[in-house]
Amino acid sequence: MPNREKADVLQGTLDLMILQTLATLGPLHGYAVAERLEQISKGALQLNMGTLYPGLLRLEQRGSIRAEWSRTENNRRARYYNITPAGRRRLETEKAEWTRMASIMHALLEEAR
């Protein structure tokens, strides 16, 4: 039950989270993205593959990220995602939007208390 709610929240913010992760850490494969998000959220965010990969694909289709096959440190073939200039621009606007929204929410909730 909480999983369902979590997915709904994710829907709007998943793009932003992926873009931010790639912008900070550089090229990563899908598992590394999931790992990073789990780590940052201290385990609160456990992305399953059915959410993560369609999200990555959507960002790729929209031209925000680019993917290419490469090798891991252990010399395994993996698909690495990198943010594009268009993706960076989008990240900036969405980040600003998110911050603005968050401050509105914050002000509203503080006042209600």
Binding site: H29, G30, P54, R58, G63, A78
Partner: protein, 875 residues
Amino acid sequence: MNGRLREYRVRLLATFRSRSAESEEELRFHLEMAEQEALRRGAPVREARLRVGGLSQASDALGDQRTIAWLGDLLHDLRHSARLLAKSPVFATAAVLSLALGIGANTAIFSVVNAVLLRPLAYKDSDRLVTILRRSDFPVAPANYLDWREQSHSFAGMGAAEWWQPNLIGMDQPEHLFGLRLTESLLPLLGIEPLIGRWFVPGEDEAGSEHEVILSYGLWQRRFHGDRRVLGTAMALDGEPYTIVGVMPREFKFAPFWATRAELWAPLAFGTRIHDRAANSLRIFARLAPGVTMTQARAEMATITARLDQEYPGTNRDVAVTELKEKVVGNIELPLLALMVAVGLVLLIACANVAHMLLARAATRHKEMALRTALGAGRARVVRQFLAESLLLAGTGCAAGFVLALWGTRTLIGFSPPDLPRLNTVTIDLHVALFTLGVTVLTGLGCGLAPALAISAANLAGALKEGERGSSERFNRNRVRGALVASEFALALMLLIGAVLLIRSFGALQSIDPGFDAHNLLSMVVSVASTGEAEPARREIFYRQVIDRIRTLPGVRAASGINHLPLGGDLWGLPFTIKGHPKPLPGALPAAVYRVAMPGYFEAMRLPLLRGRDIQTSDDMHAPGVVVINEQAAQRYWPGEDPIGKRIAFGPDWFTIIGIVKGAKQGIWVADIDPEVYLAALQNRSFLGEQKFPGSSYITLVVRTAGDPAAMAAAVQNAVRSFDRNLPISDVVTMDEVIARQNAQPRFEMLVLGIFAGIALLLAAVGIYGVMNYSVSRRTHEIGIRMSLGADRGSVLRMVAGQAILLALGGSVAGLAGSLVLSSAMKGLLYGVRPFDPLTFAAVTAALCLVALVSSSVPARRATKIDPLIALRAE
């Protein structure tokens, strides 16, 4: 937004590509990494799987994001259908061909309807343009036009056009041109700017300053090789210099009806004619003023003309304001709509045919469908699969039909009547493409839906248990199939009756007697205006000598001349007075078709002289004026009297009637023959050029030949040119061609409708054959039982054929009812045959039942050859 657009473009492209295994590999990598992580932490591997989710769900979700799912499903269905159809090529070919015929015919006819009826005329805001004519067809006199223009307020502009046929000389090749004289106000009314140069300017249509000319694009190209420097230069028309002031764009045509061949336009100056209310020679065009409706304009014109008619009795009756477009396409509207209905019926028949072919196939795929349902495919899924199949058929049919339509449209234009308006603009444009697309989708849904619903409604689970031959639903489907074939017959019957009515009507047209012998008759117009032969003294000698020389040619039986060729040339009607009759009111004067004939005209035409004598060479300027009248004039104006010796007057000139000839067809082939008067050419001042009179500087030669008249054309032209090589000769034509041209439209309607009716009949015959064939193969078992119980071959034959006849009769009843509606709508297209011609109705119905019988005879014969022993084991 941009990103989202990009996303869907990528997804659309991906839909058509096969998916790669790469995403699978990526997901597996993820899973392995998660498992290694779990191992490192010493947790069970199962937990890792729980954390990252199932591989197959992720793969599905990824697939949904990669492509556009519903489109992918559709493609899948189409591919599946294509495979199935490829397995039964005979069925696929038959179905695609039927639909291609139907869709192609519809596209072809619609492209004509679109160009001729639907597209606006090629003038600015053409729906505001009107014509003002007497009895919506007849020209108007100058003084009346000027009064209307002066007194009306409903129009933003009004202009007049007059027929003009100048000779172009002084260039390498003399040419008789077709043009119009226009008031200065007319071209601005149409709103089409010249390609180069300008319109006429005010004042140029005043007497003495009218020597300017605007060329059509075609004439400019033909005679001046498209040279822009012609502007401002002069060309000699009828011996007078005209300054070229403009060239109209390539698409520009004026007038859109009547003088459609016009290639050049000059200003129209009325001069002393501004008071003329008798010589009706103008066609009036006007543009409705902003905000004025047709009704208001008509009401105003009615008031104005009523007032004028009181002032000048008989001059302003029956004046009609007509929308220009209606005037242009009014005559062709009904035939085109009839053809549109006809192709609609053909398509319906094709659909019905394909529908029952699909139904028959569906029956054999019963088990497949049952299995699919059993495996969880919903009813919608089964219906969708059927629709995909019929849409695929319709789509392929559409592609083939489009090719057919391209070819068919060209053929259609090839043998369409030459004066069909706007046919040069027929193209496949966006409207046609959308129409075809719409028709195709409807066709696909139409012929797929019935079988899809019939099949999916059946108790499929029951069918699975029962074996191939379900009972109750098969009965239902047979009823559906029977109804489909019966409606095919109904539709085919309607088309056939329409076609036969047109054929009989055309036969009636062909058997009309023109009054003269139209075979082996050649004619051509020789214009003498502004040539060496134009002078009155020379002209008479030239006319006589040229006819004499033609008579000496081998292969010529007789030759003569007339001012205007019956059925092909211009038609003048002039009022006259009769000596001894009370003087009638102006406007109620007796009138007759006015012809001026050279001696020997009646002999050359083989127009029988009923009484009195012929016009002779001695009837010249020095002899008293004589006329020959036709029998209709004799009956109308001298009933119960002998007209010979009676005297009539055209204006101040008196003539004695010397002979009566049989009536000859005059202007329109189907029209009744009006009173007609033949004046003697050799004593006619305007014909010989002693009086300046517009349109009298030419002679139409008529030559009776021994053999093929067309083969004599060159010899006769050479004989004319041997006098003067600068003489323009035009309208070289045989009388048979003239008459064929008059009947071109009914012939066209008959041919096209006949072809469609033939296609319909063929499709219906194939339909009934298919149904009977299927029915016999399904009833092999039953027939076997009947035969083993003692039924003989005759009774089996009767049973099968009887079923076919029953279907045909059922269809015929519905078809006859439809025909009553259709034929009454066709009334305007028929000549000499009633729309409800009982003979036609009965014969066509009988013929159709015969076709049903013949189509079913093959399956019926097969039924009689069934071996009961084998049939009984067939289960």
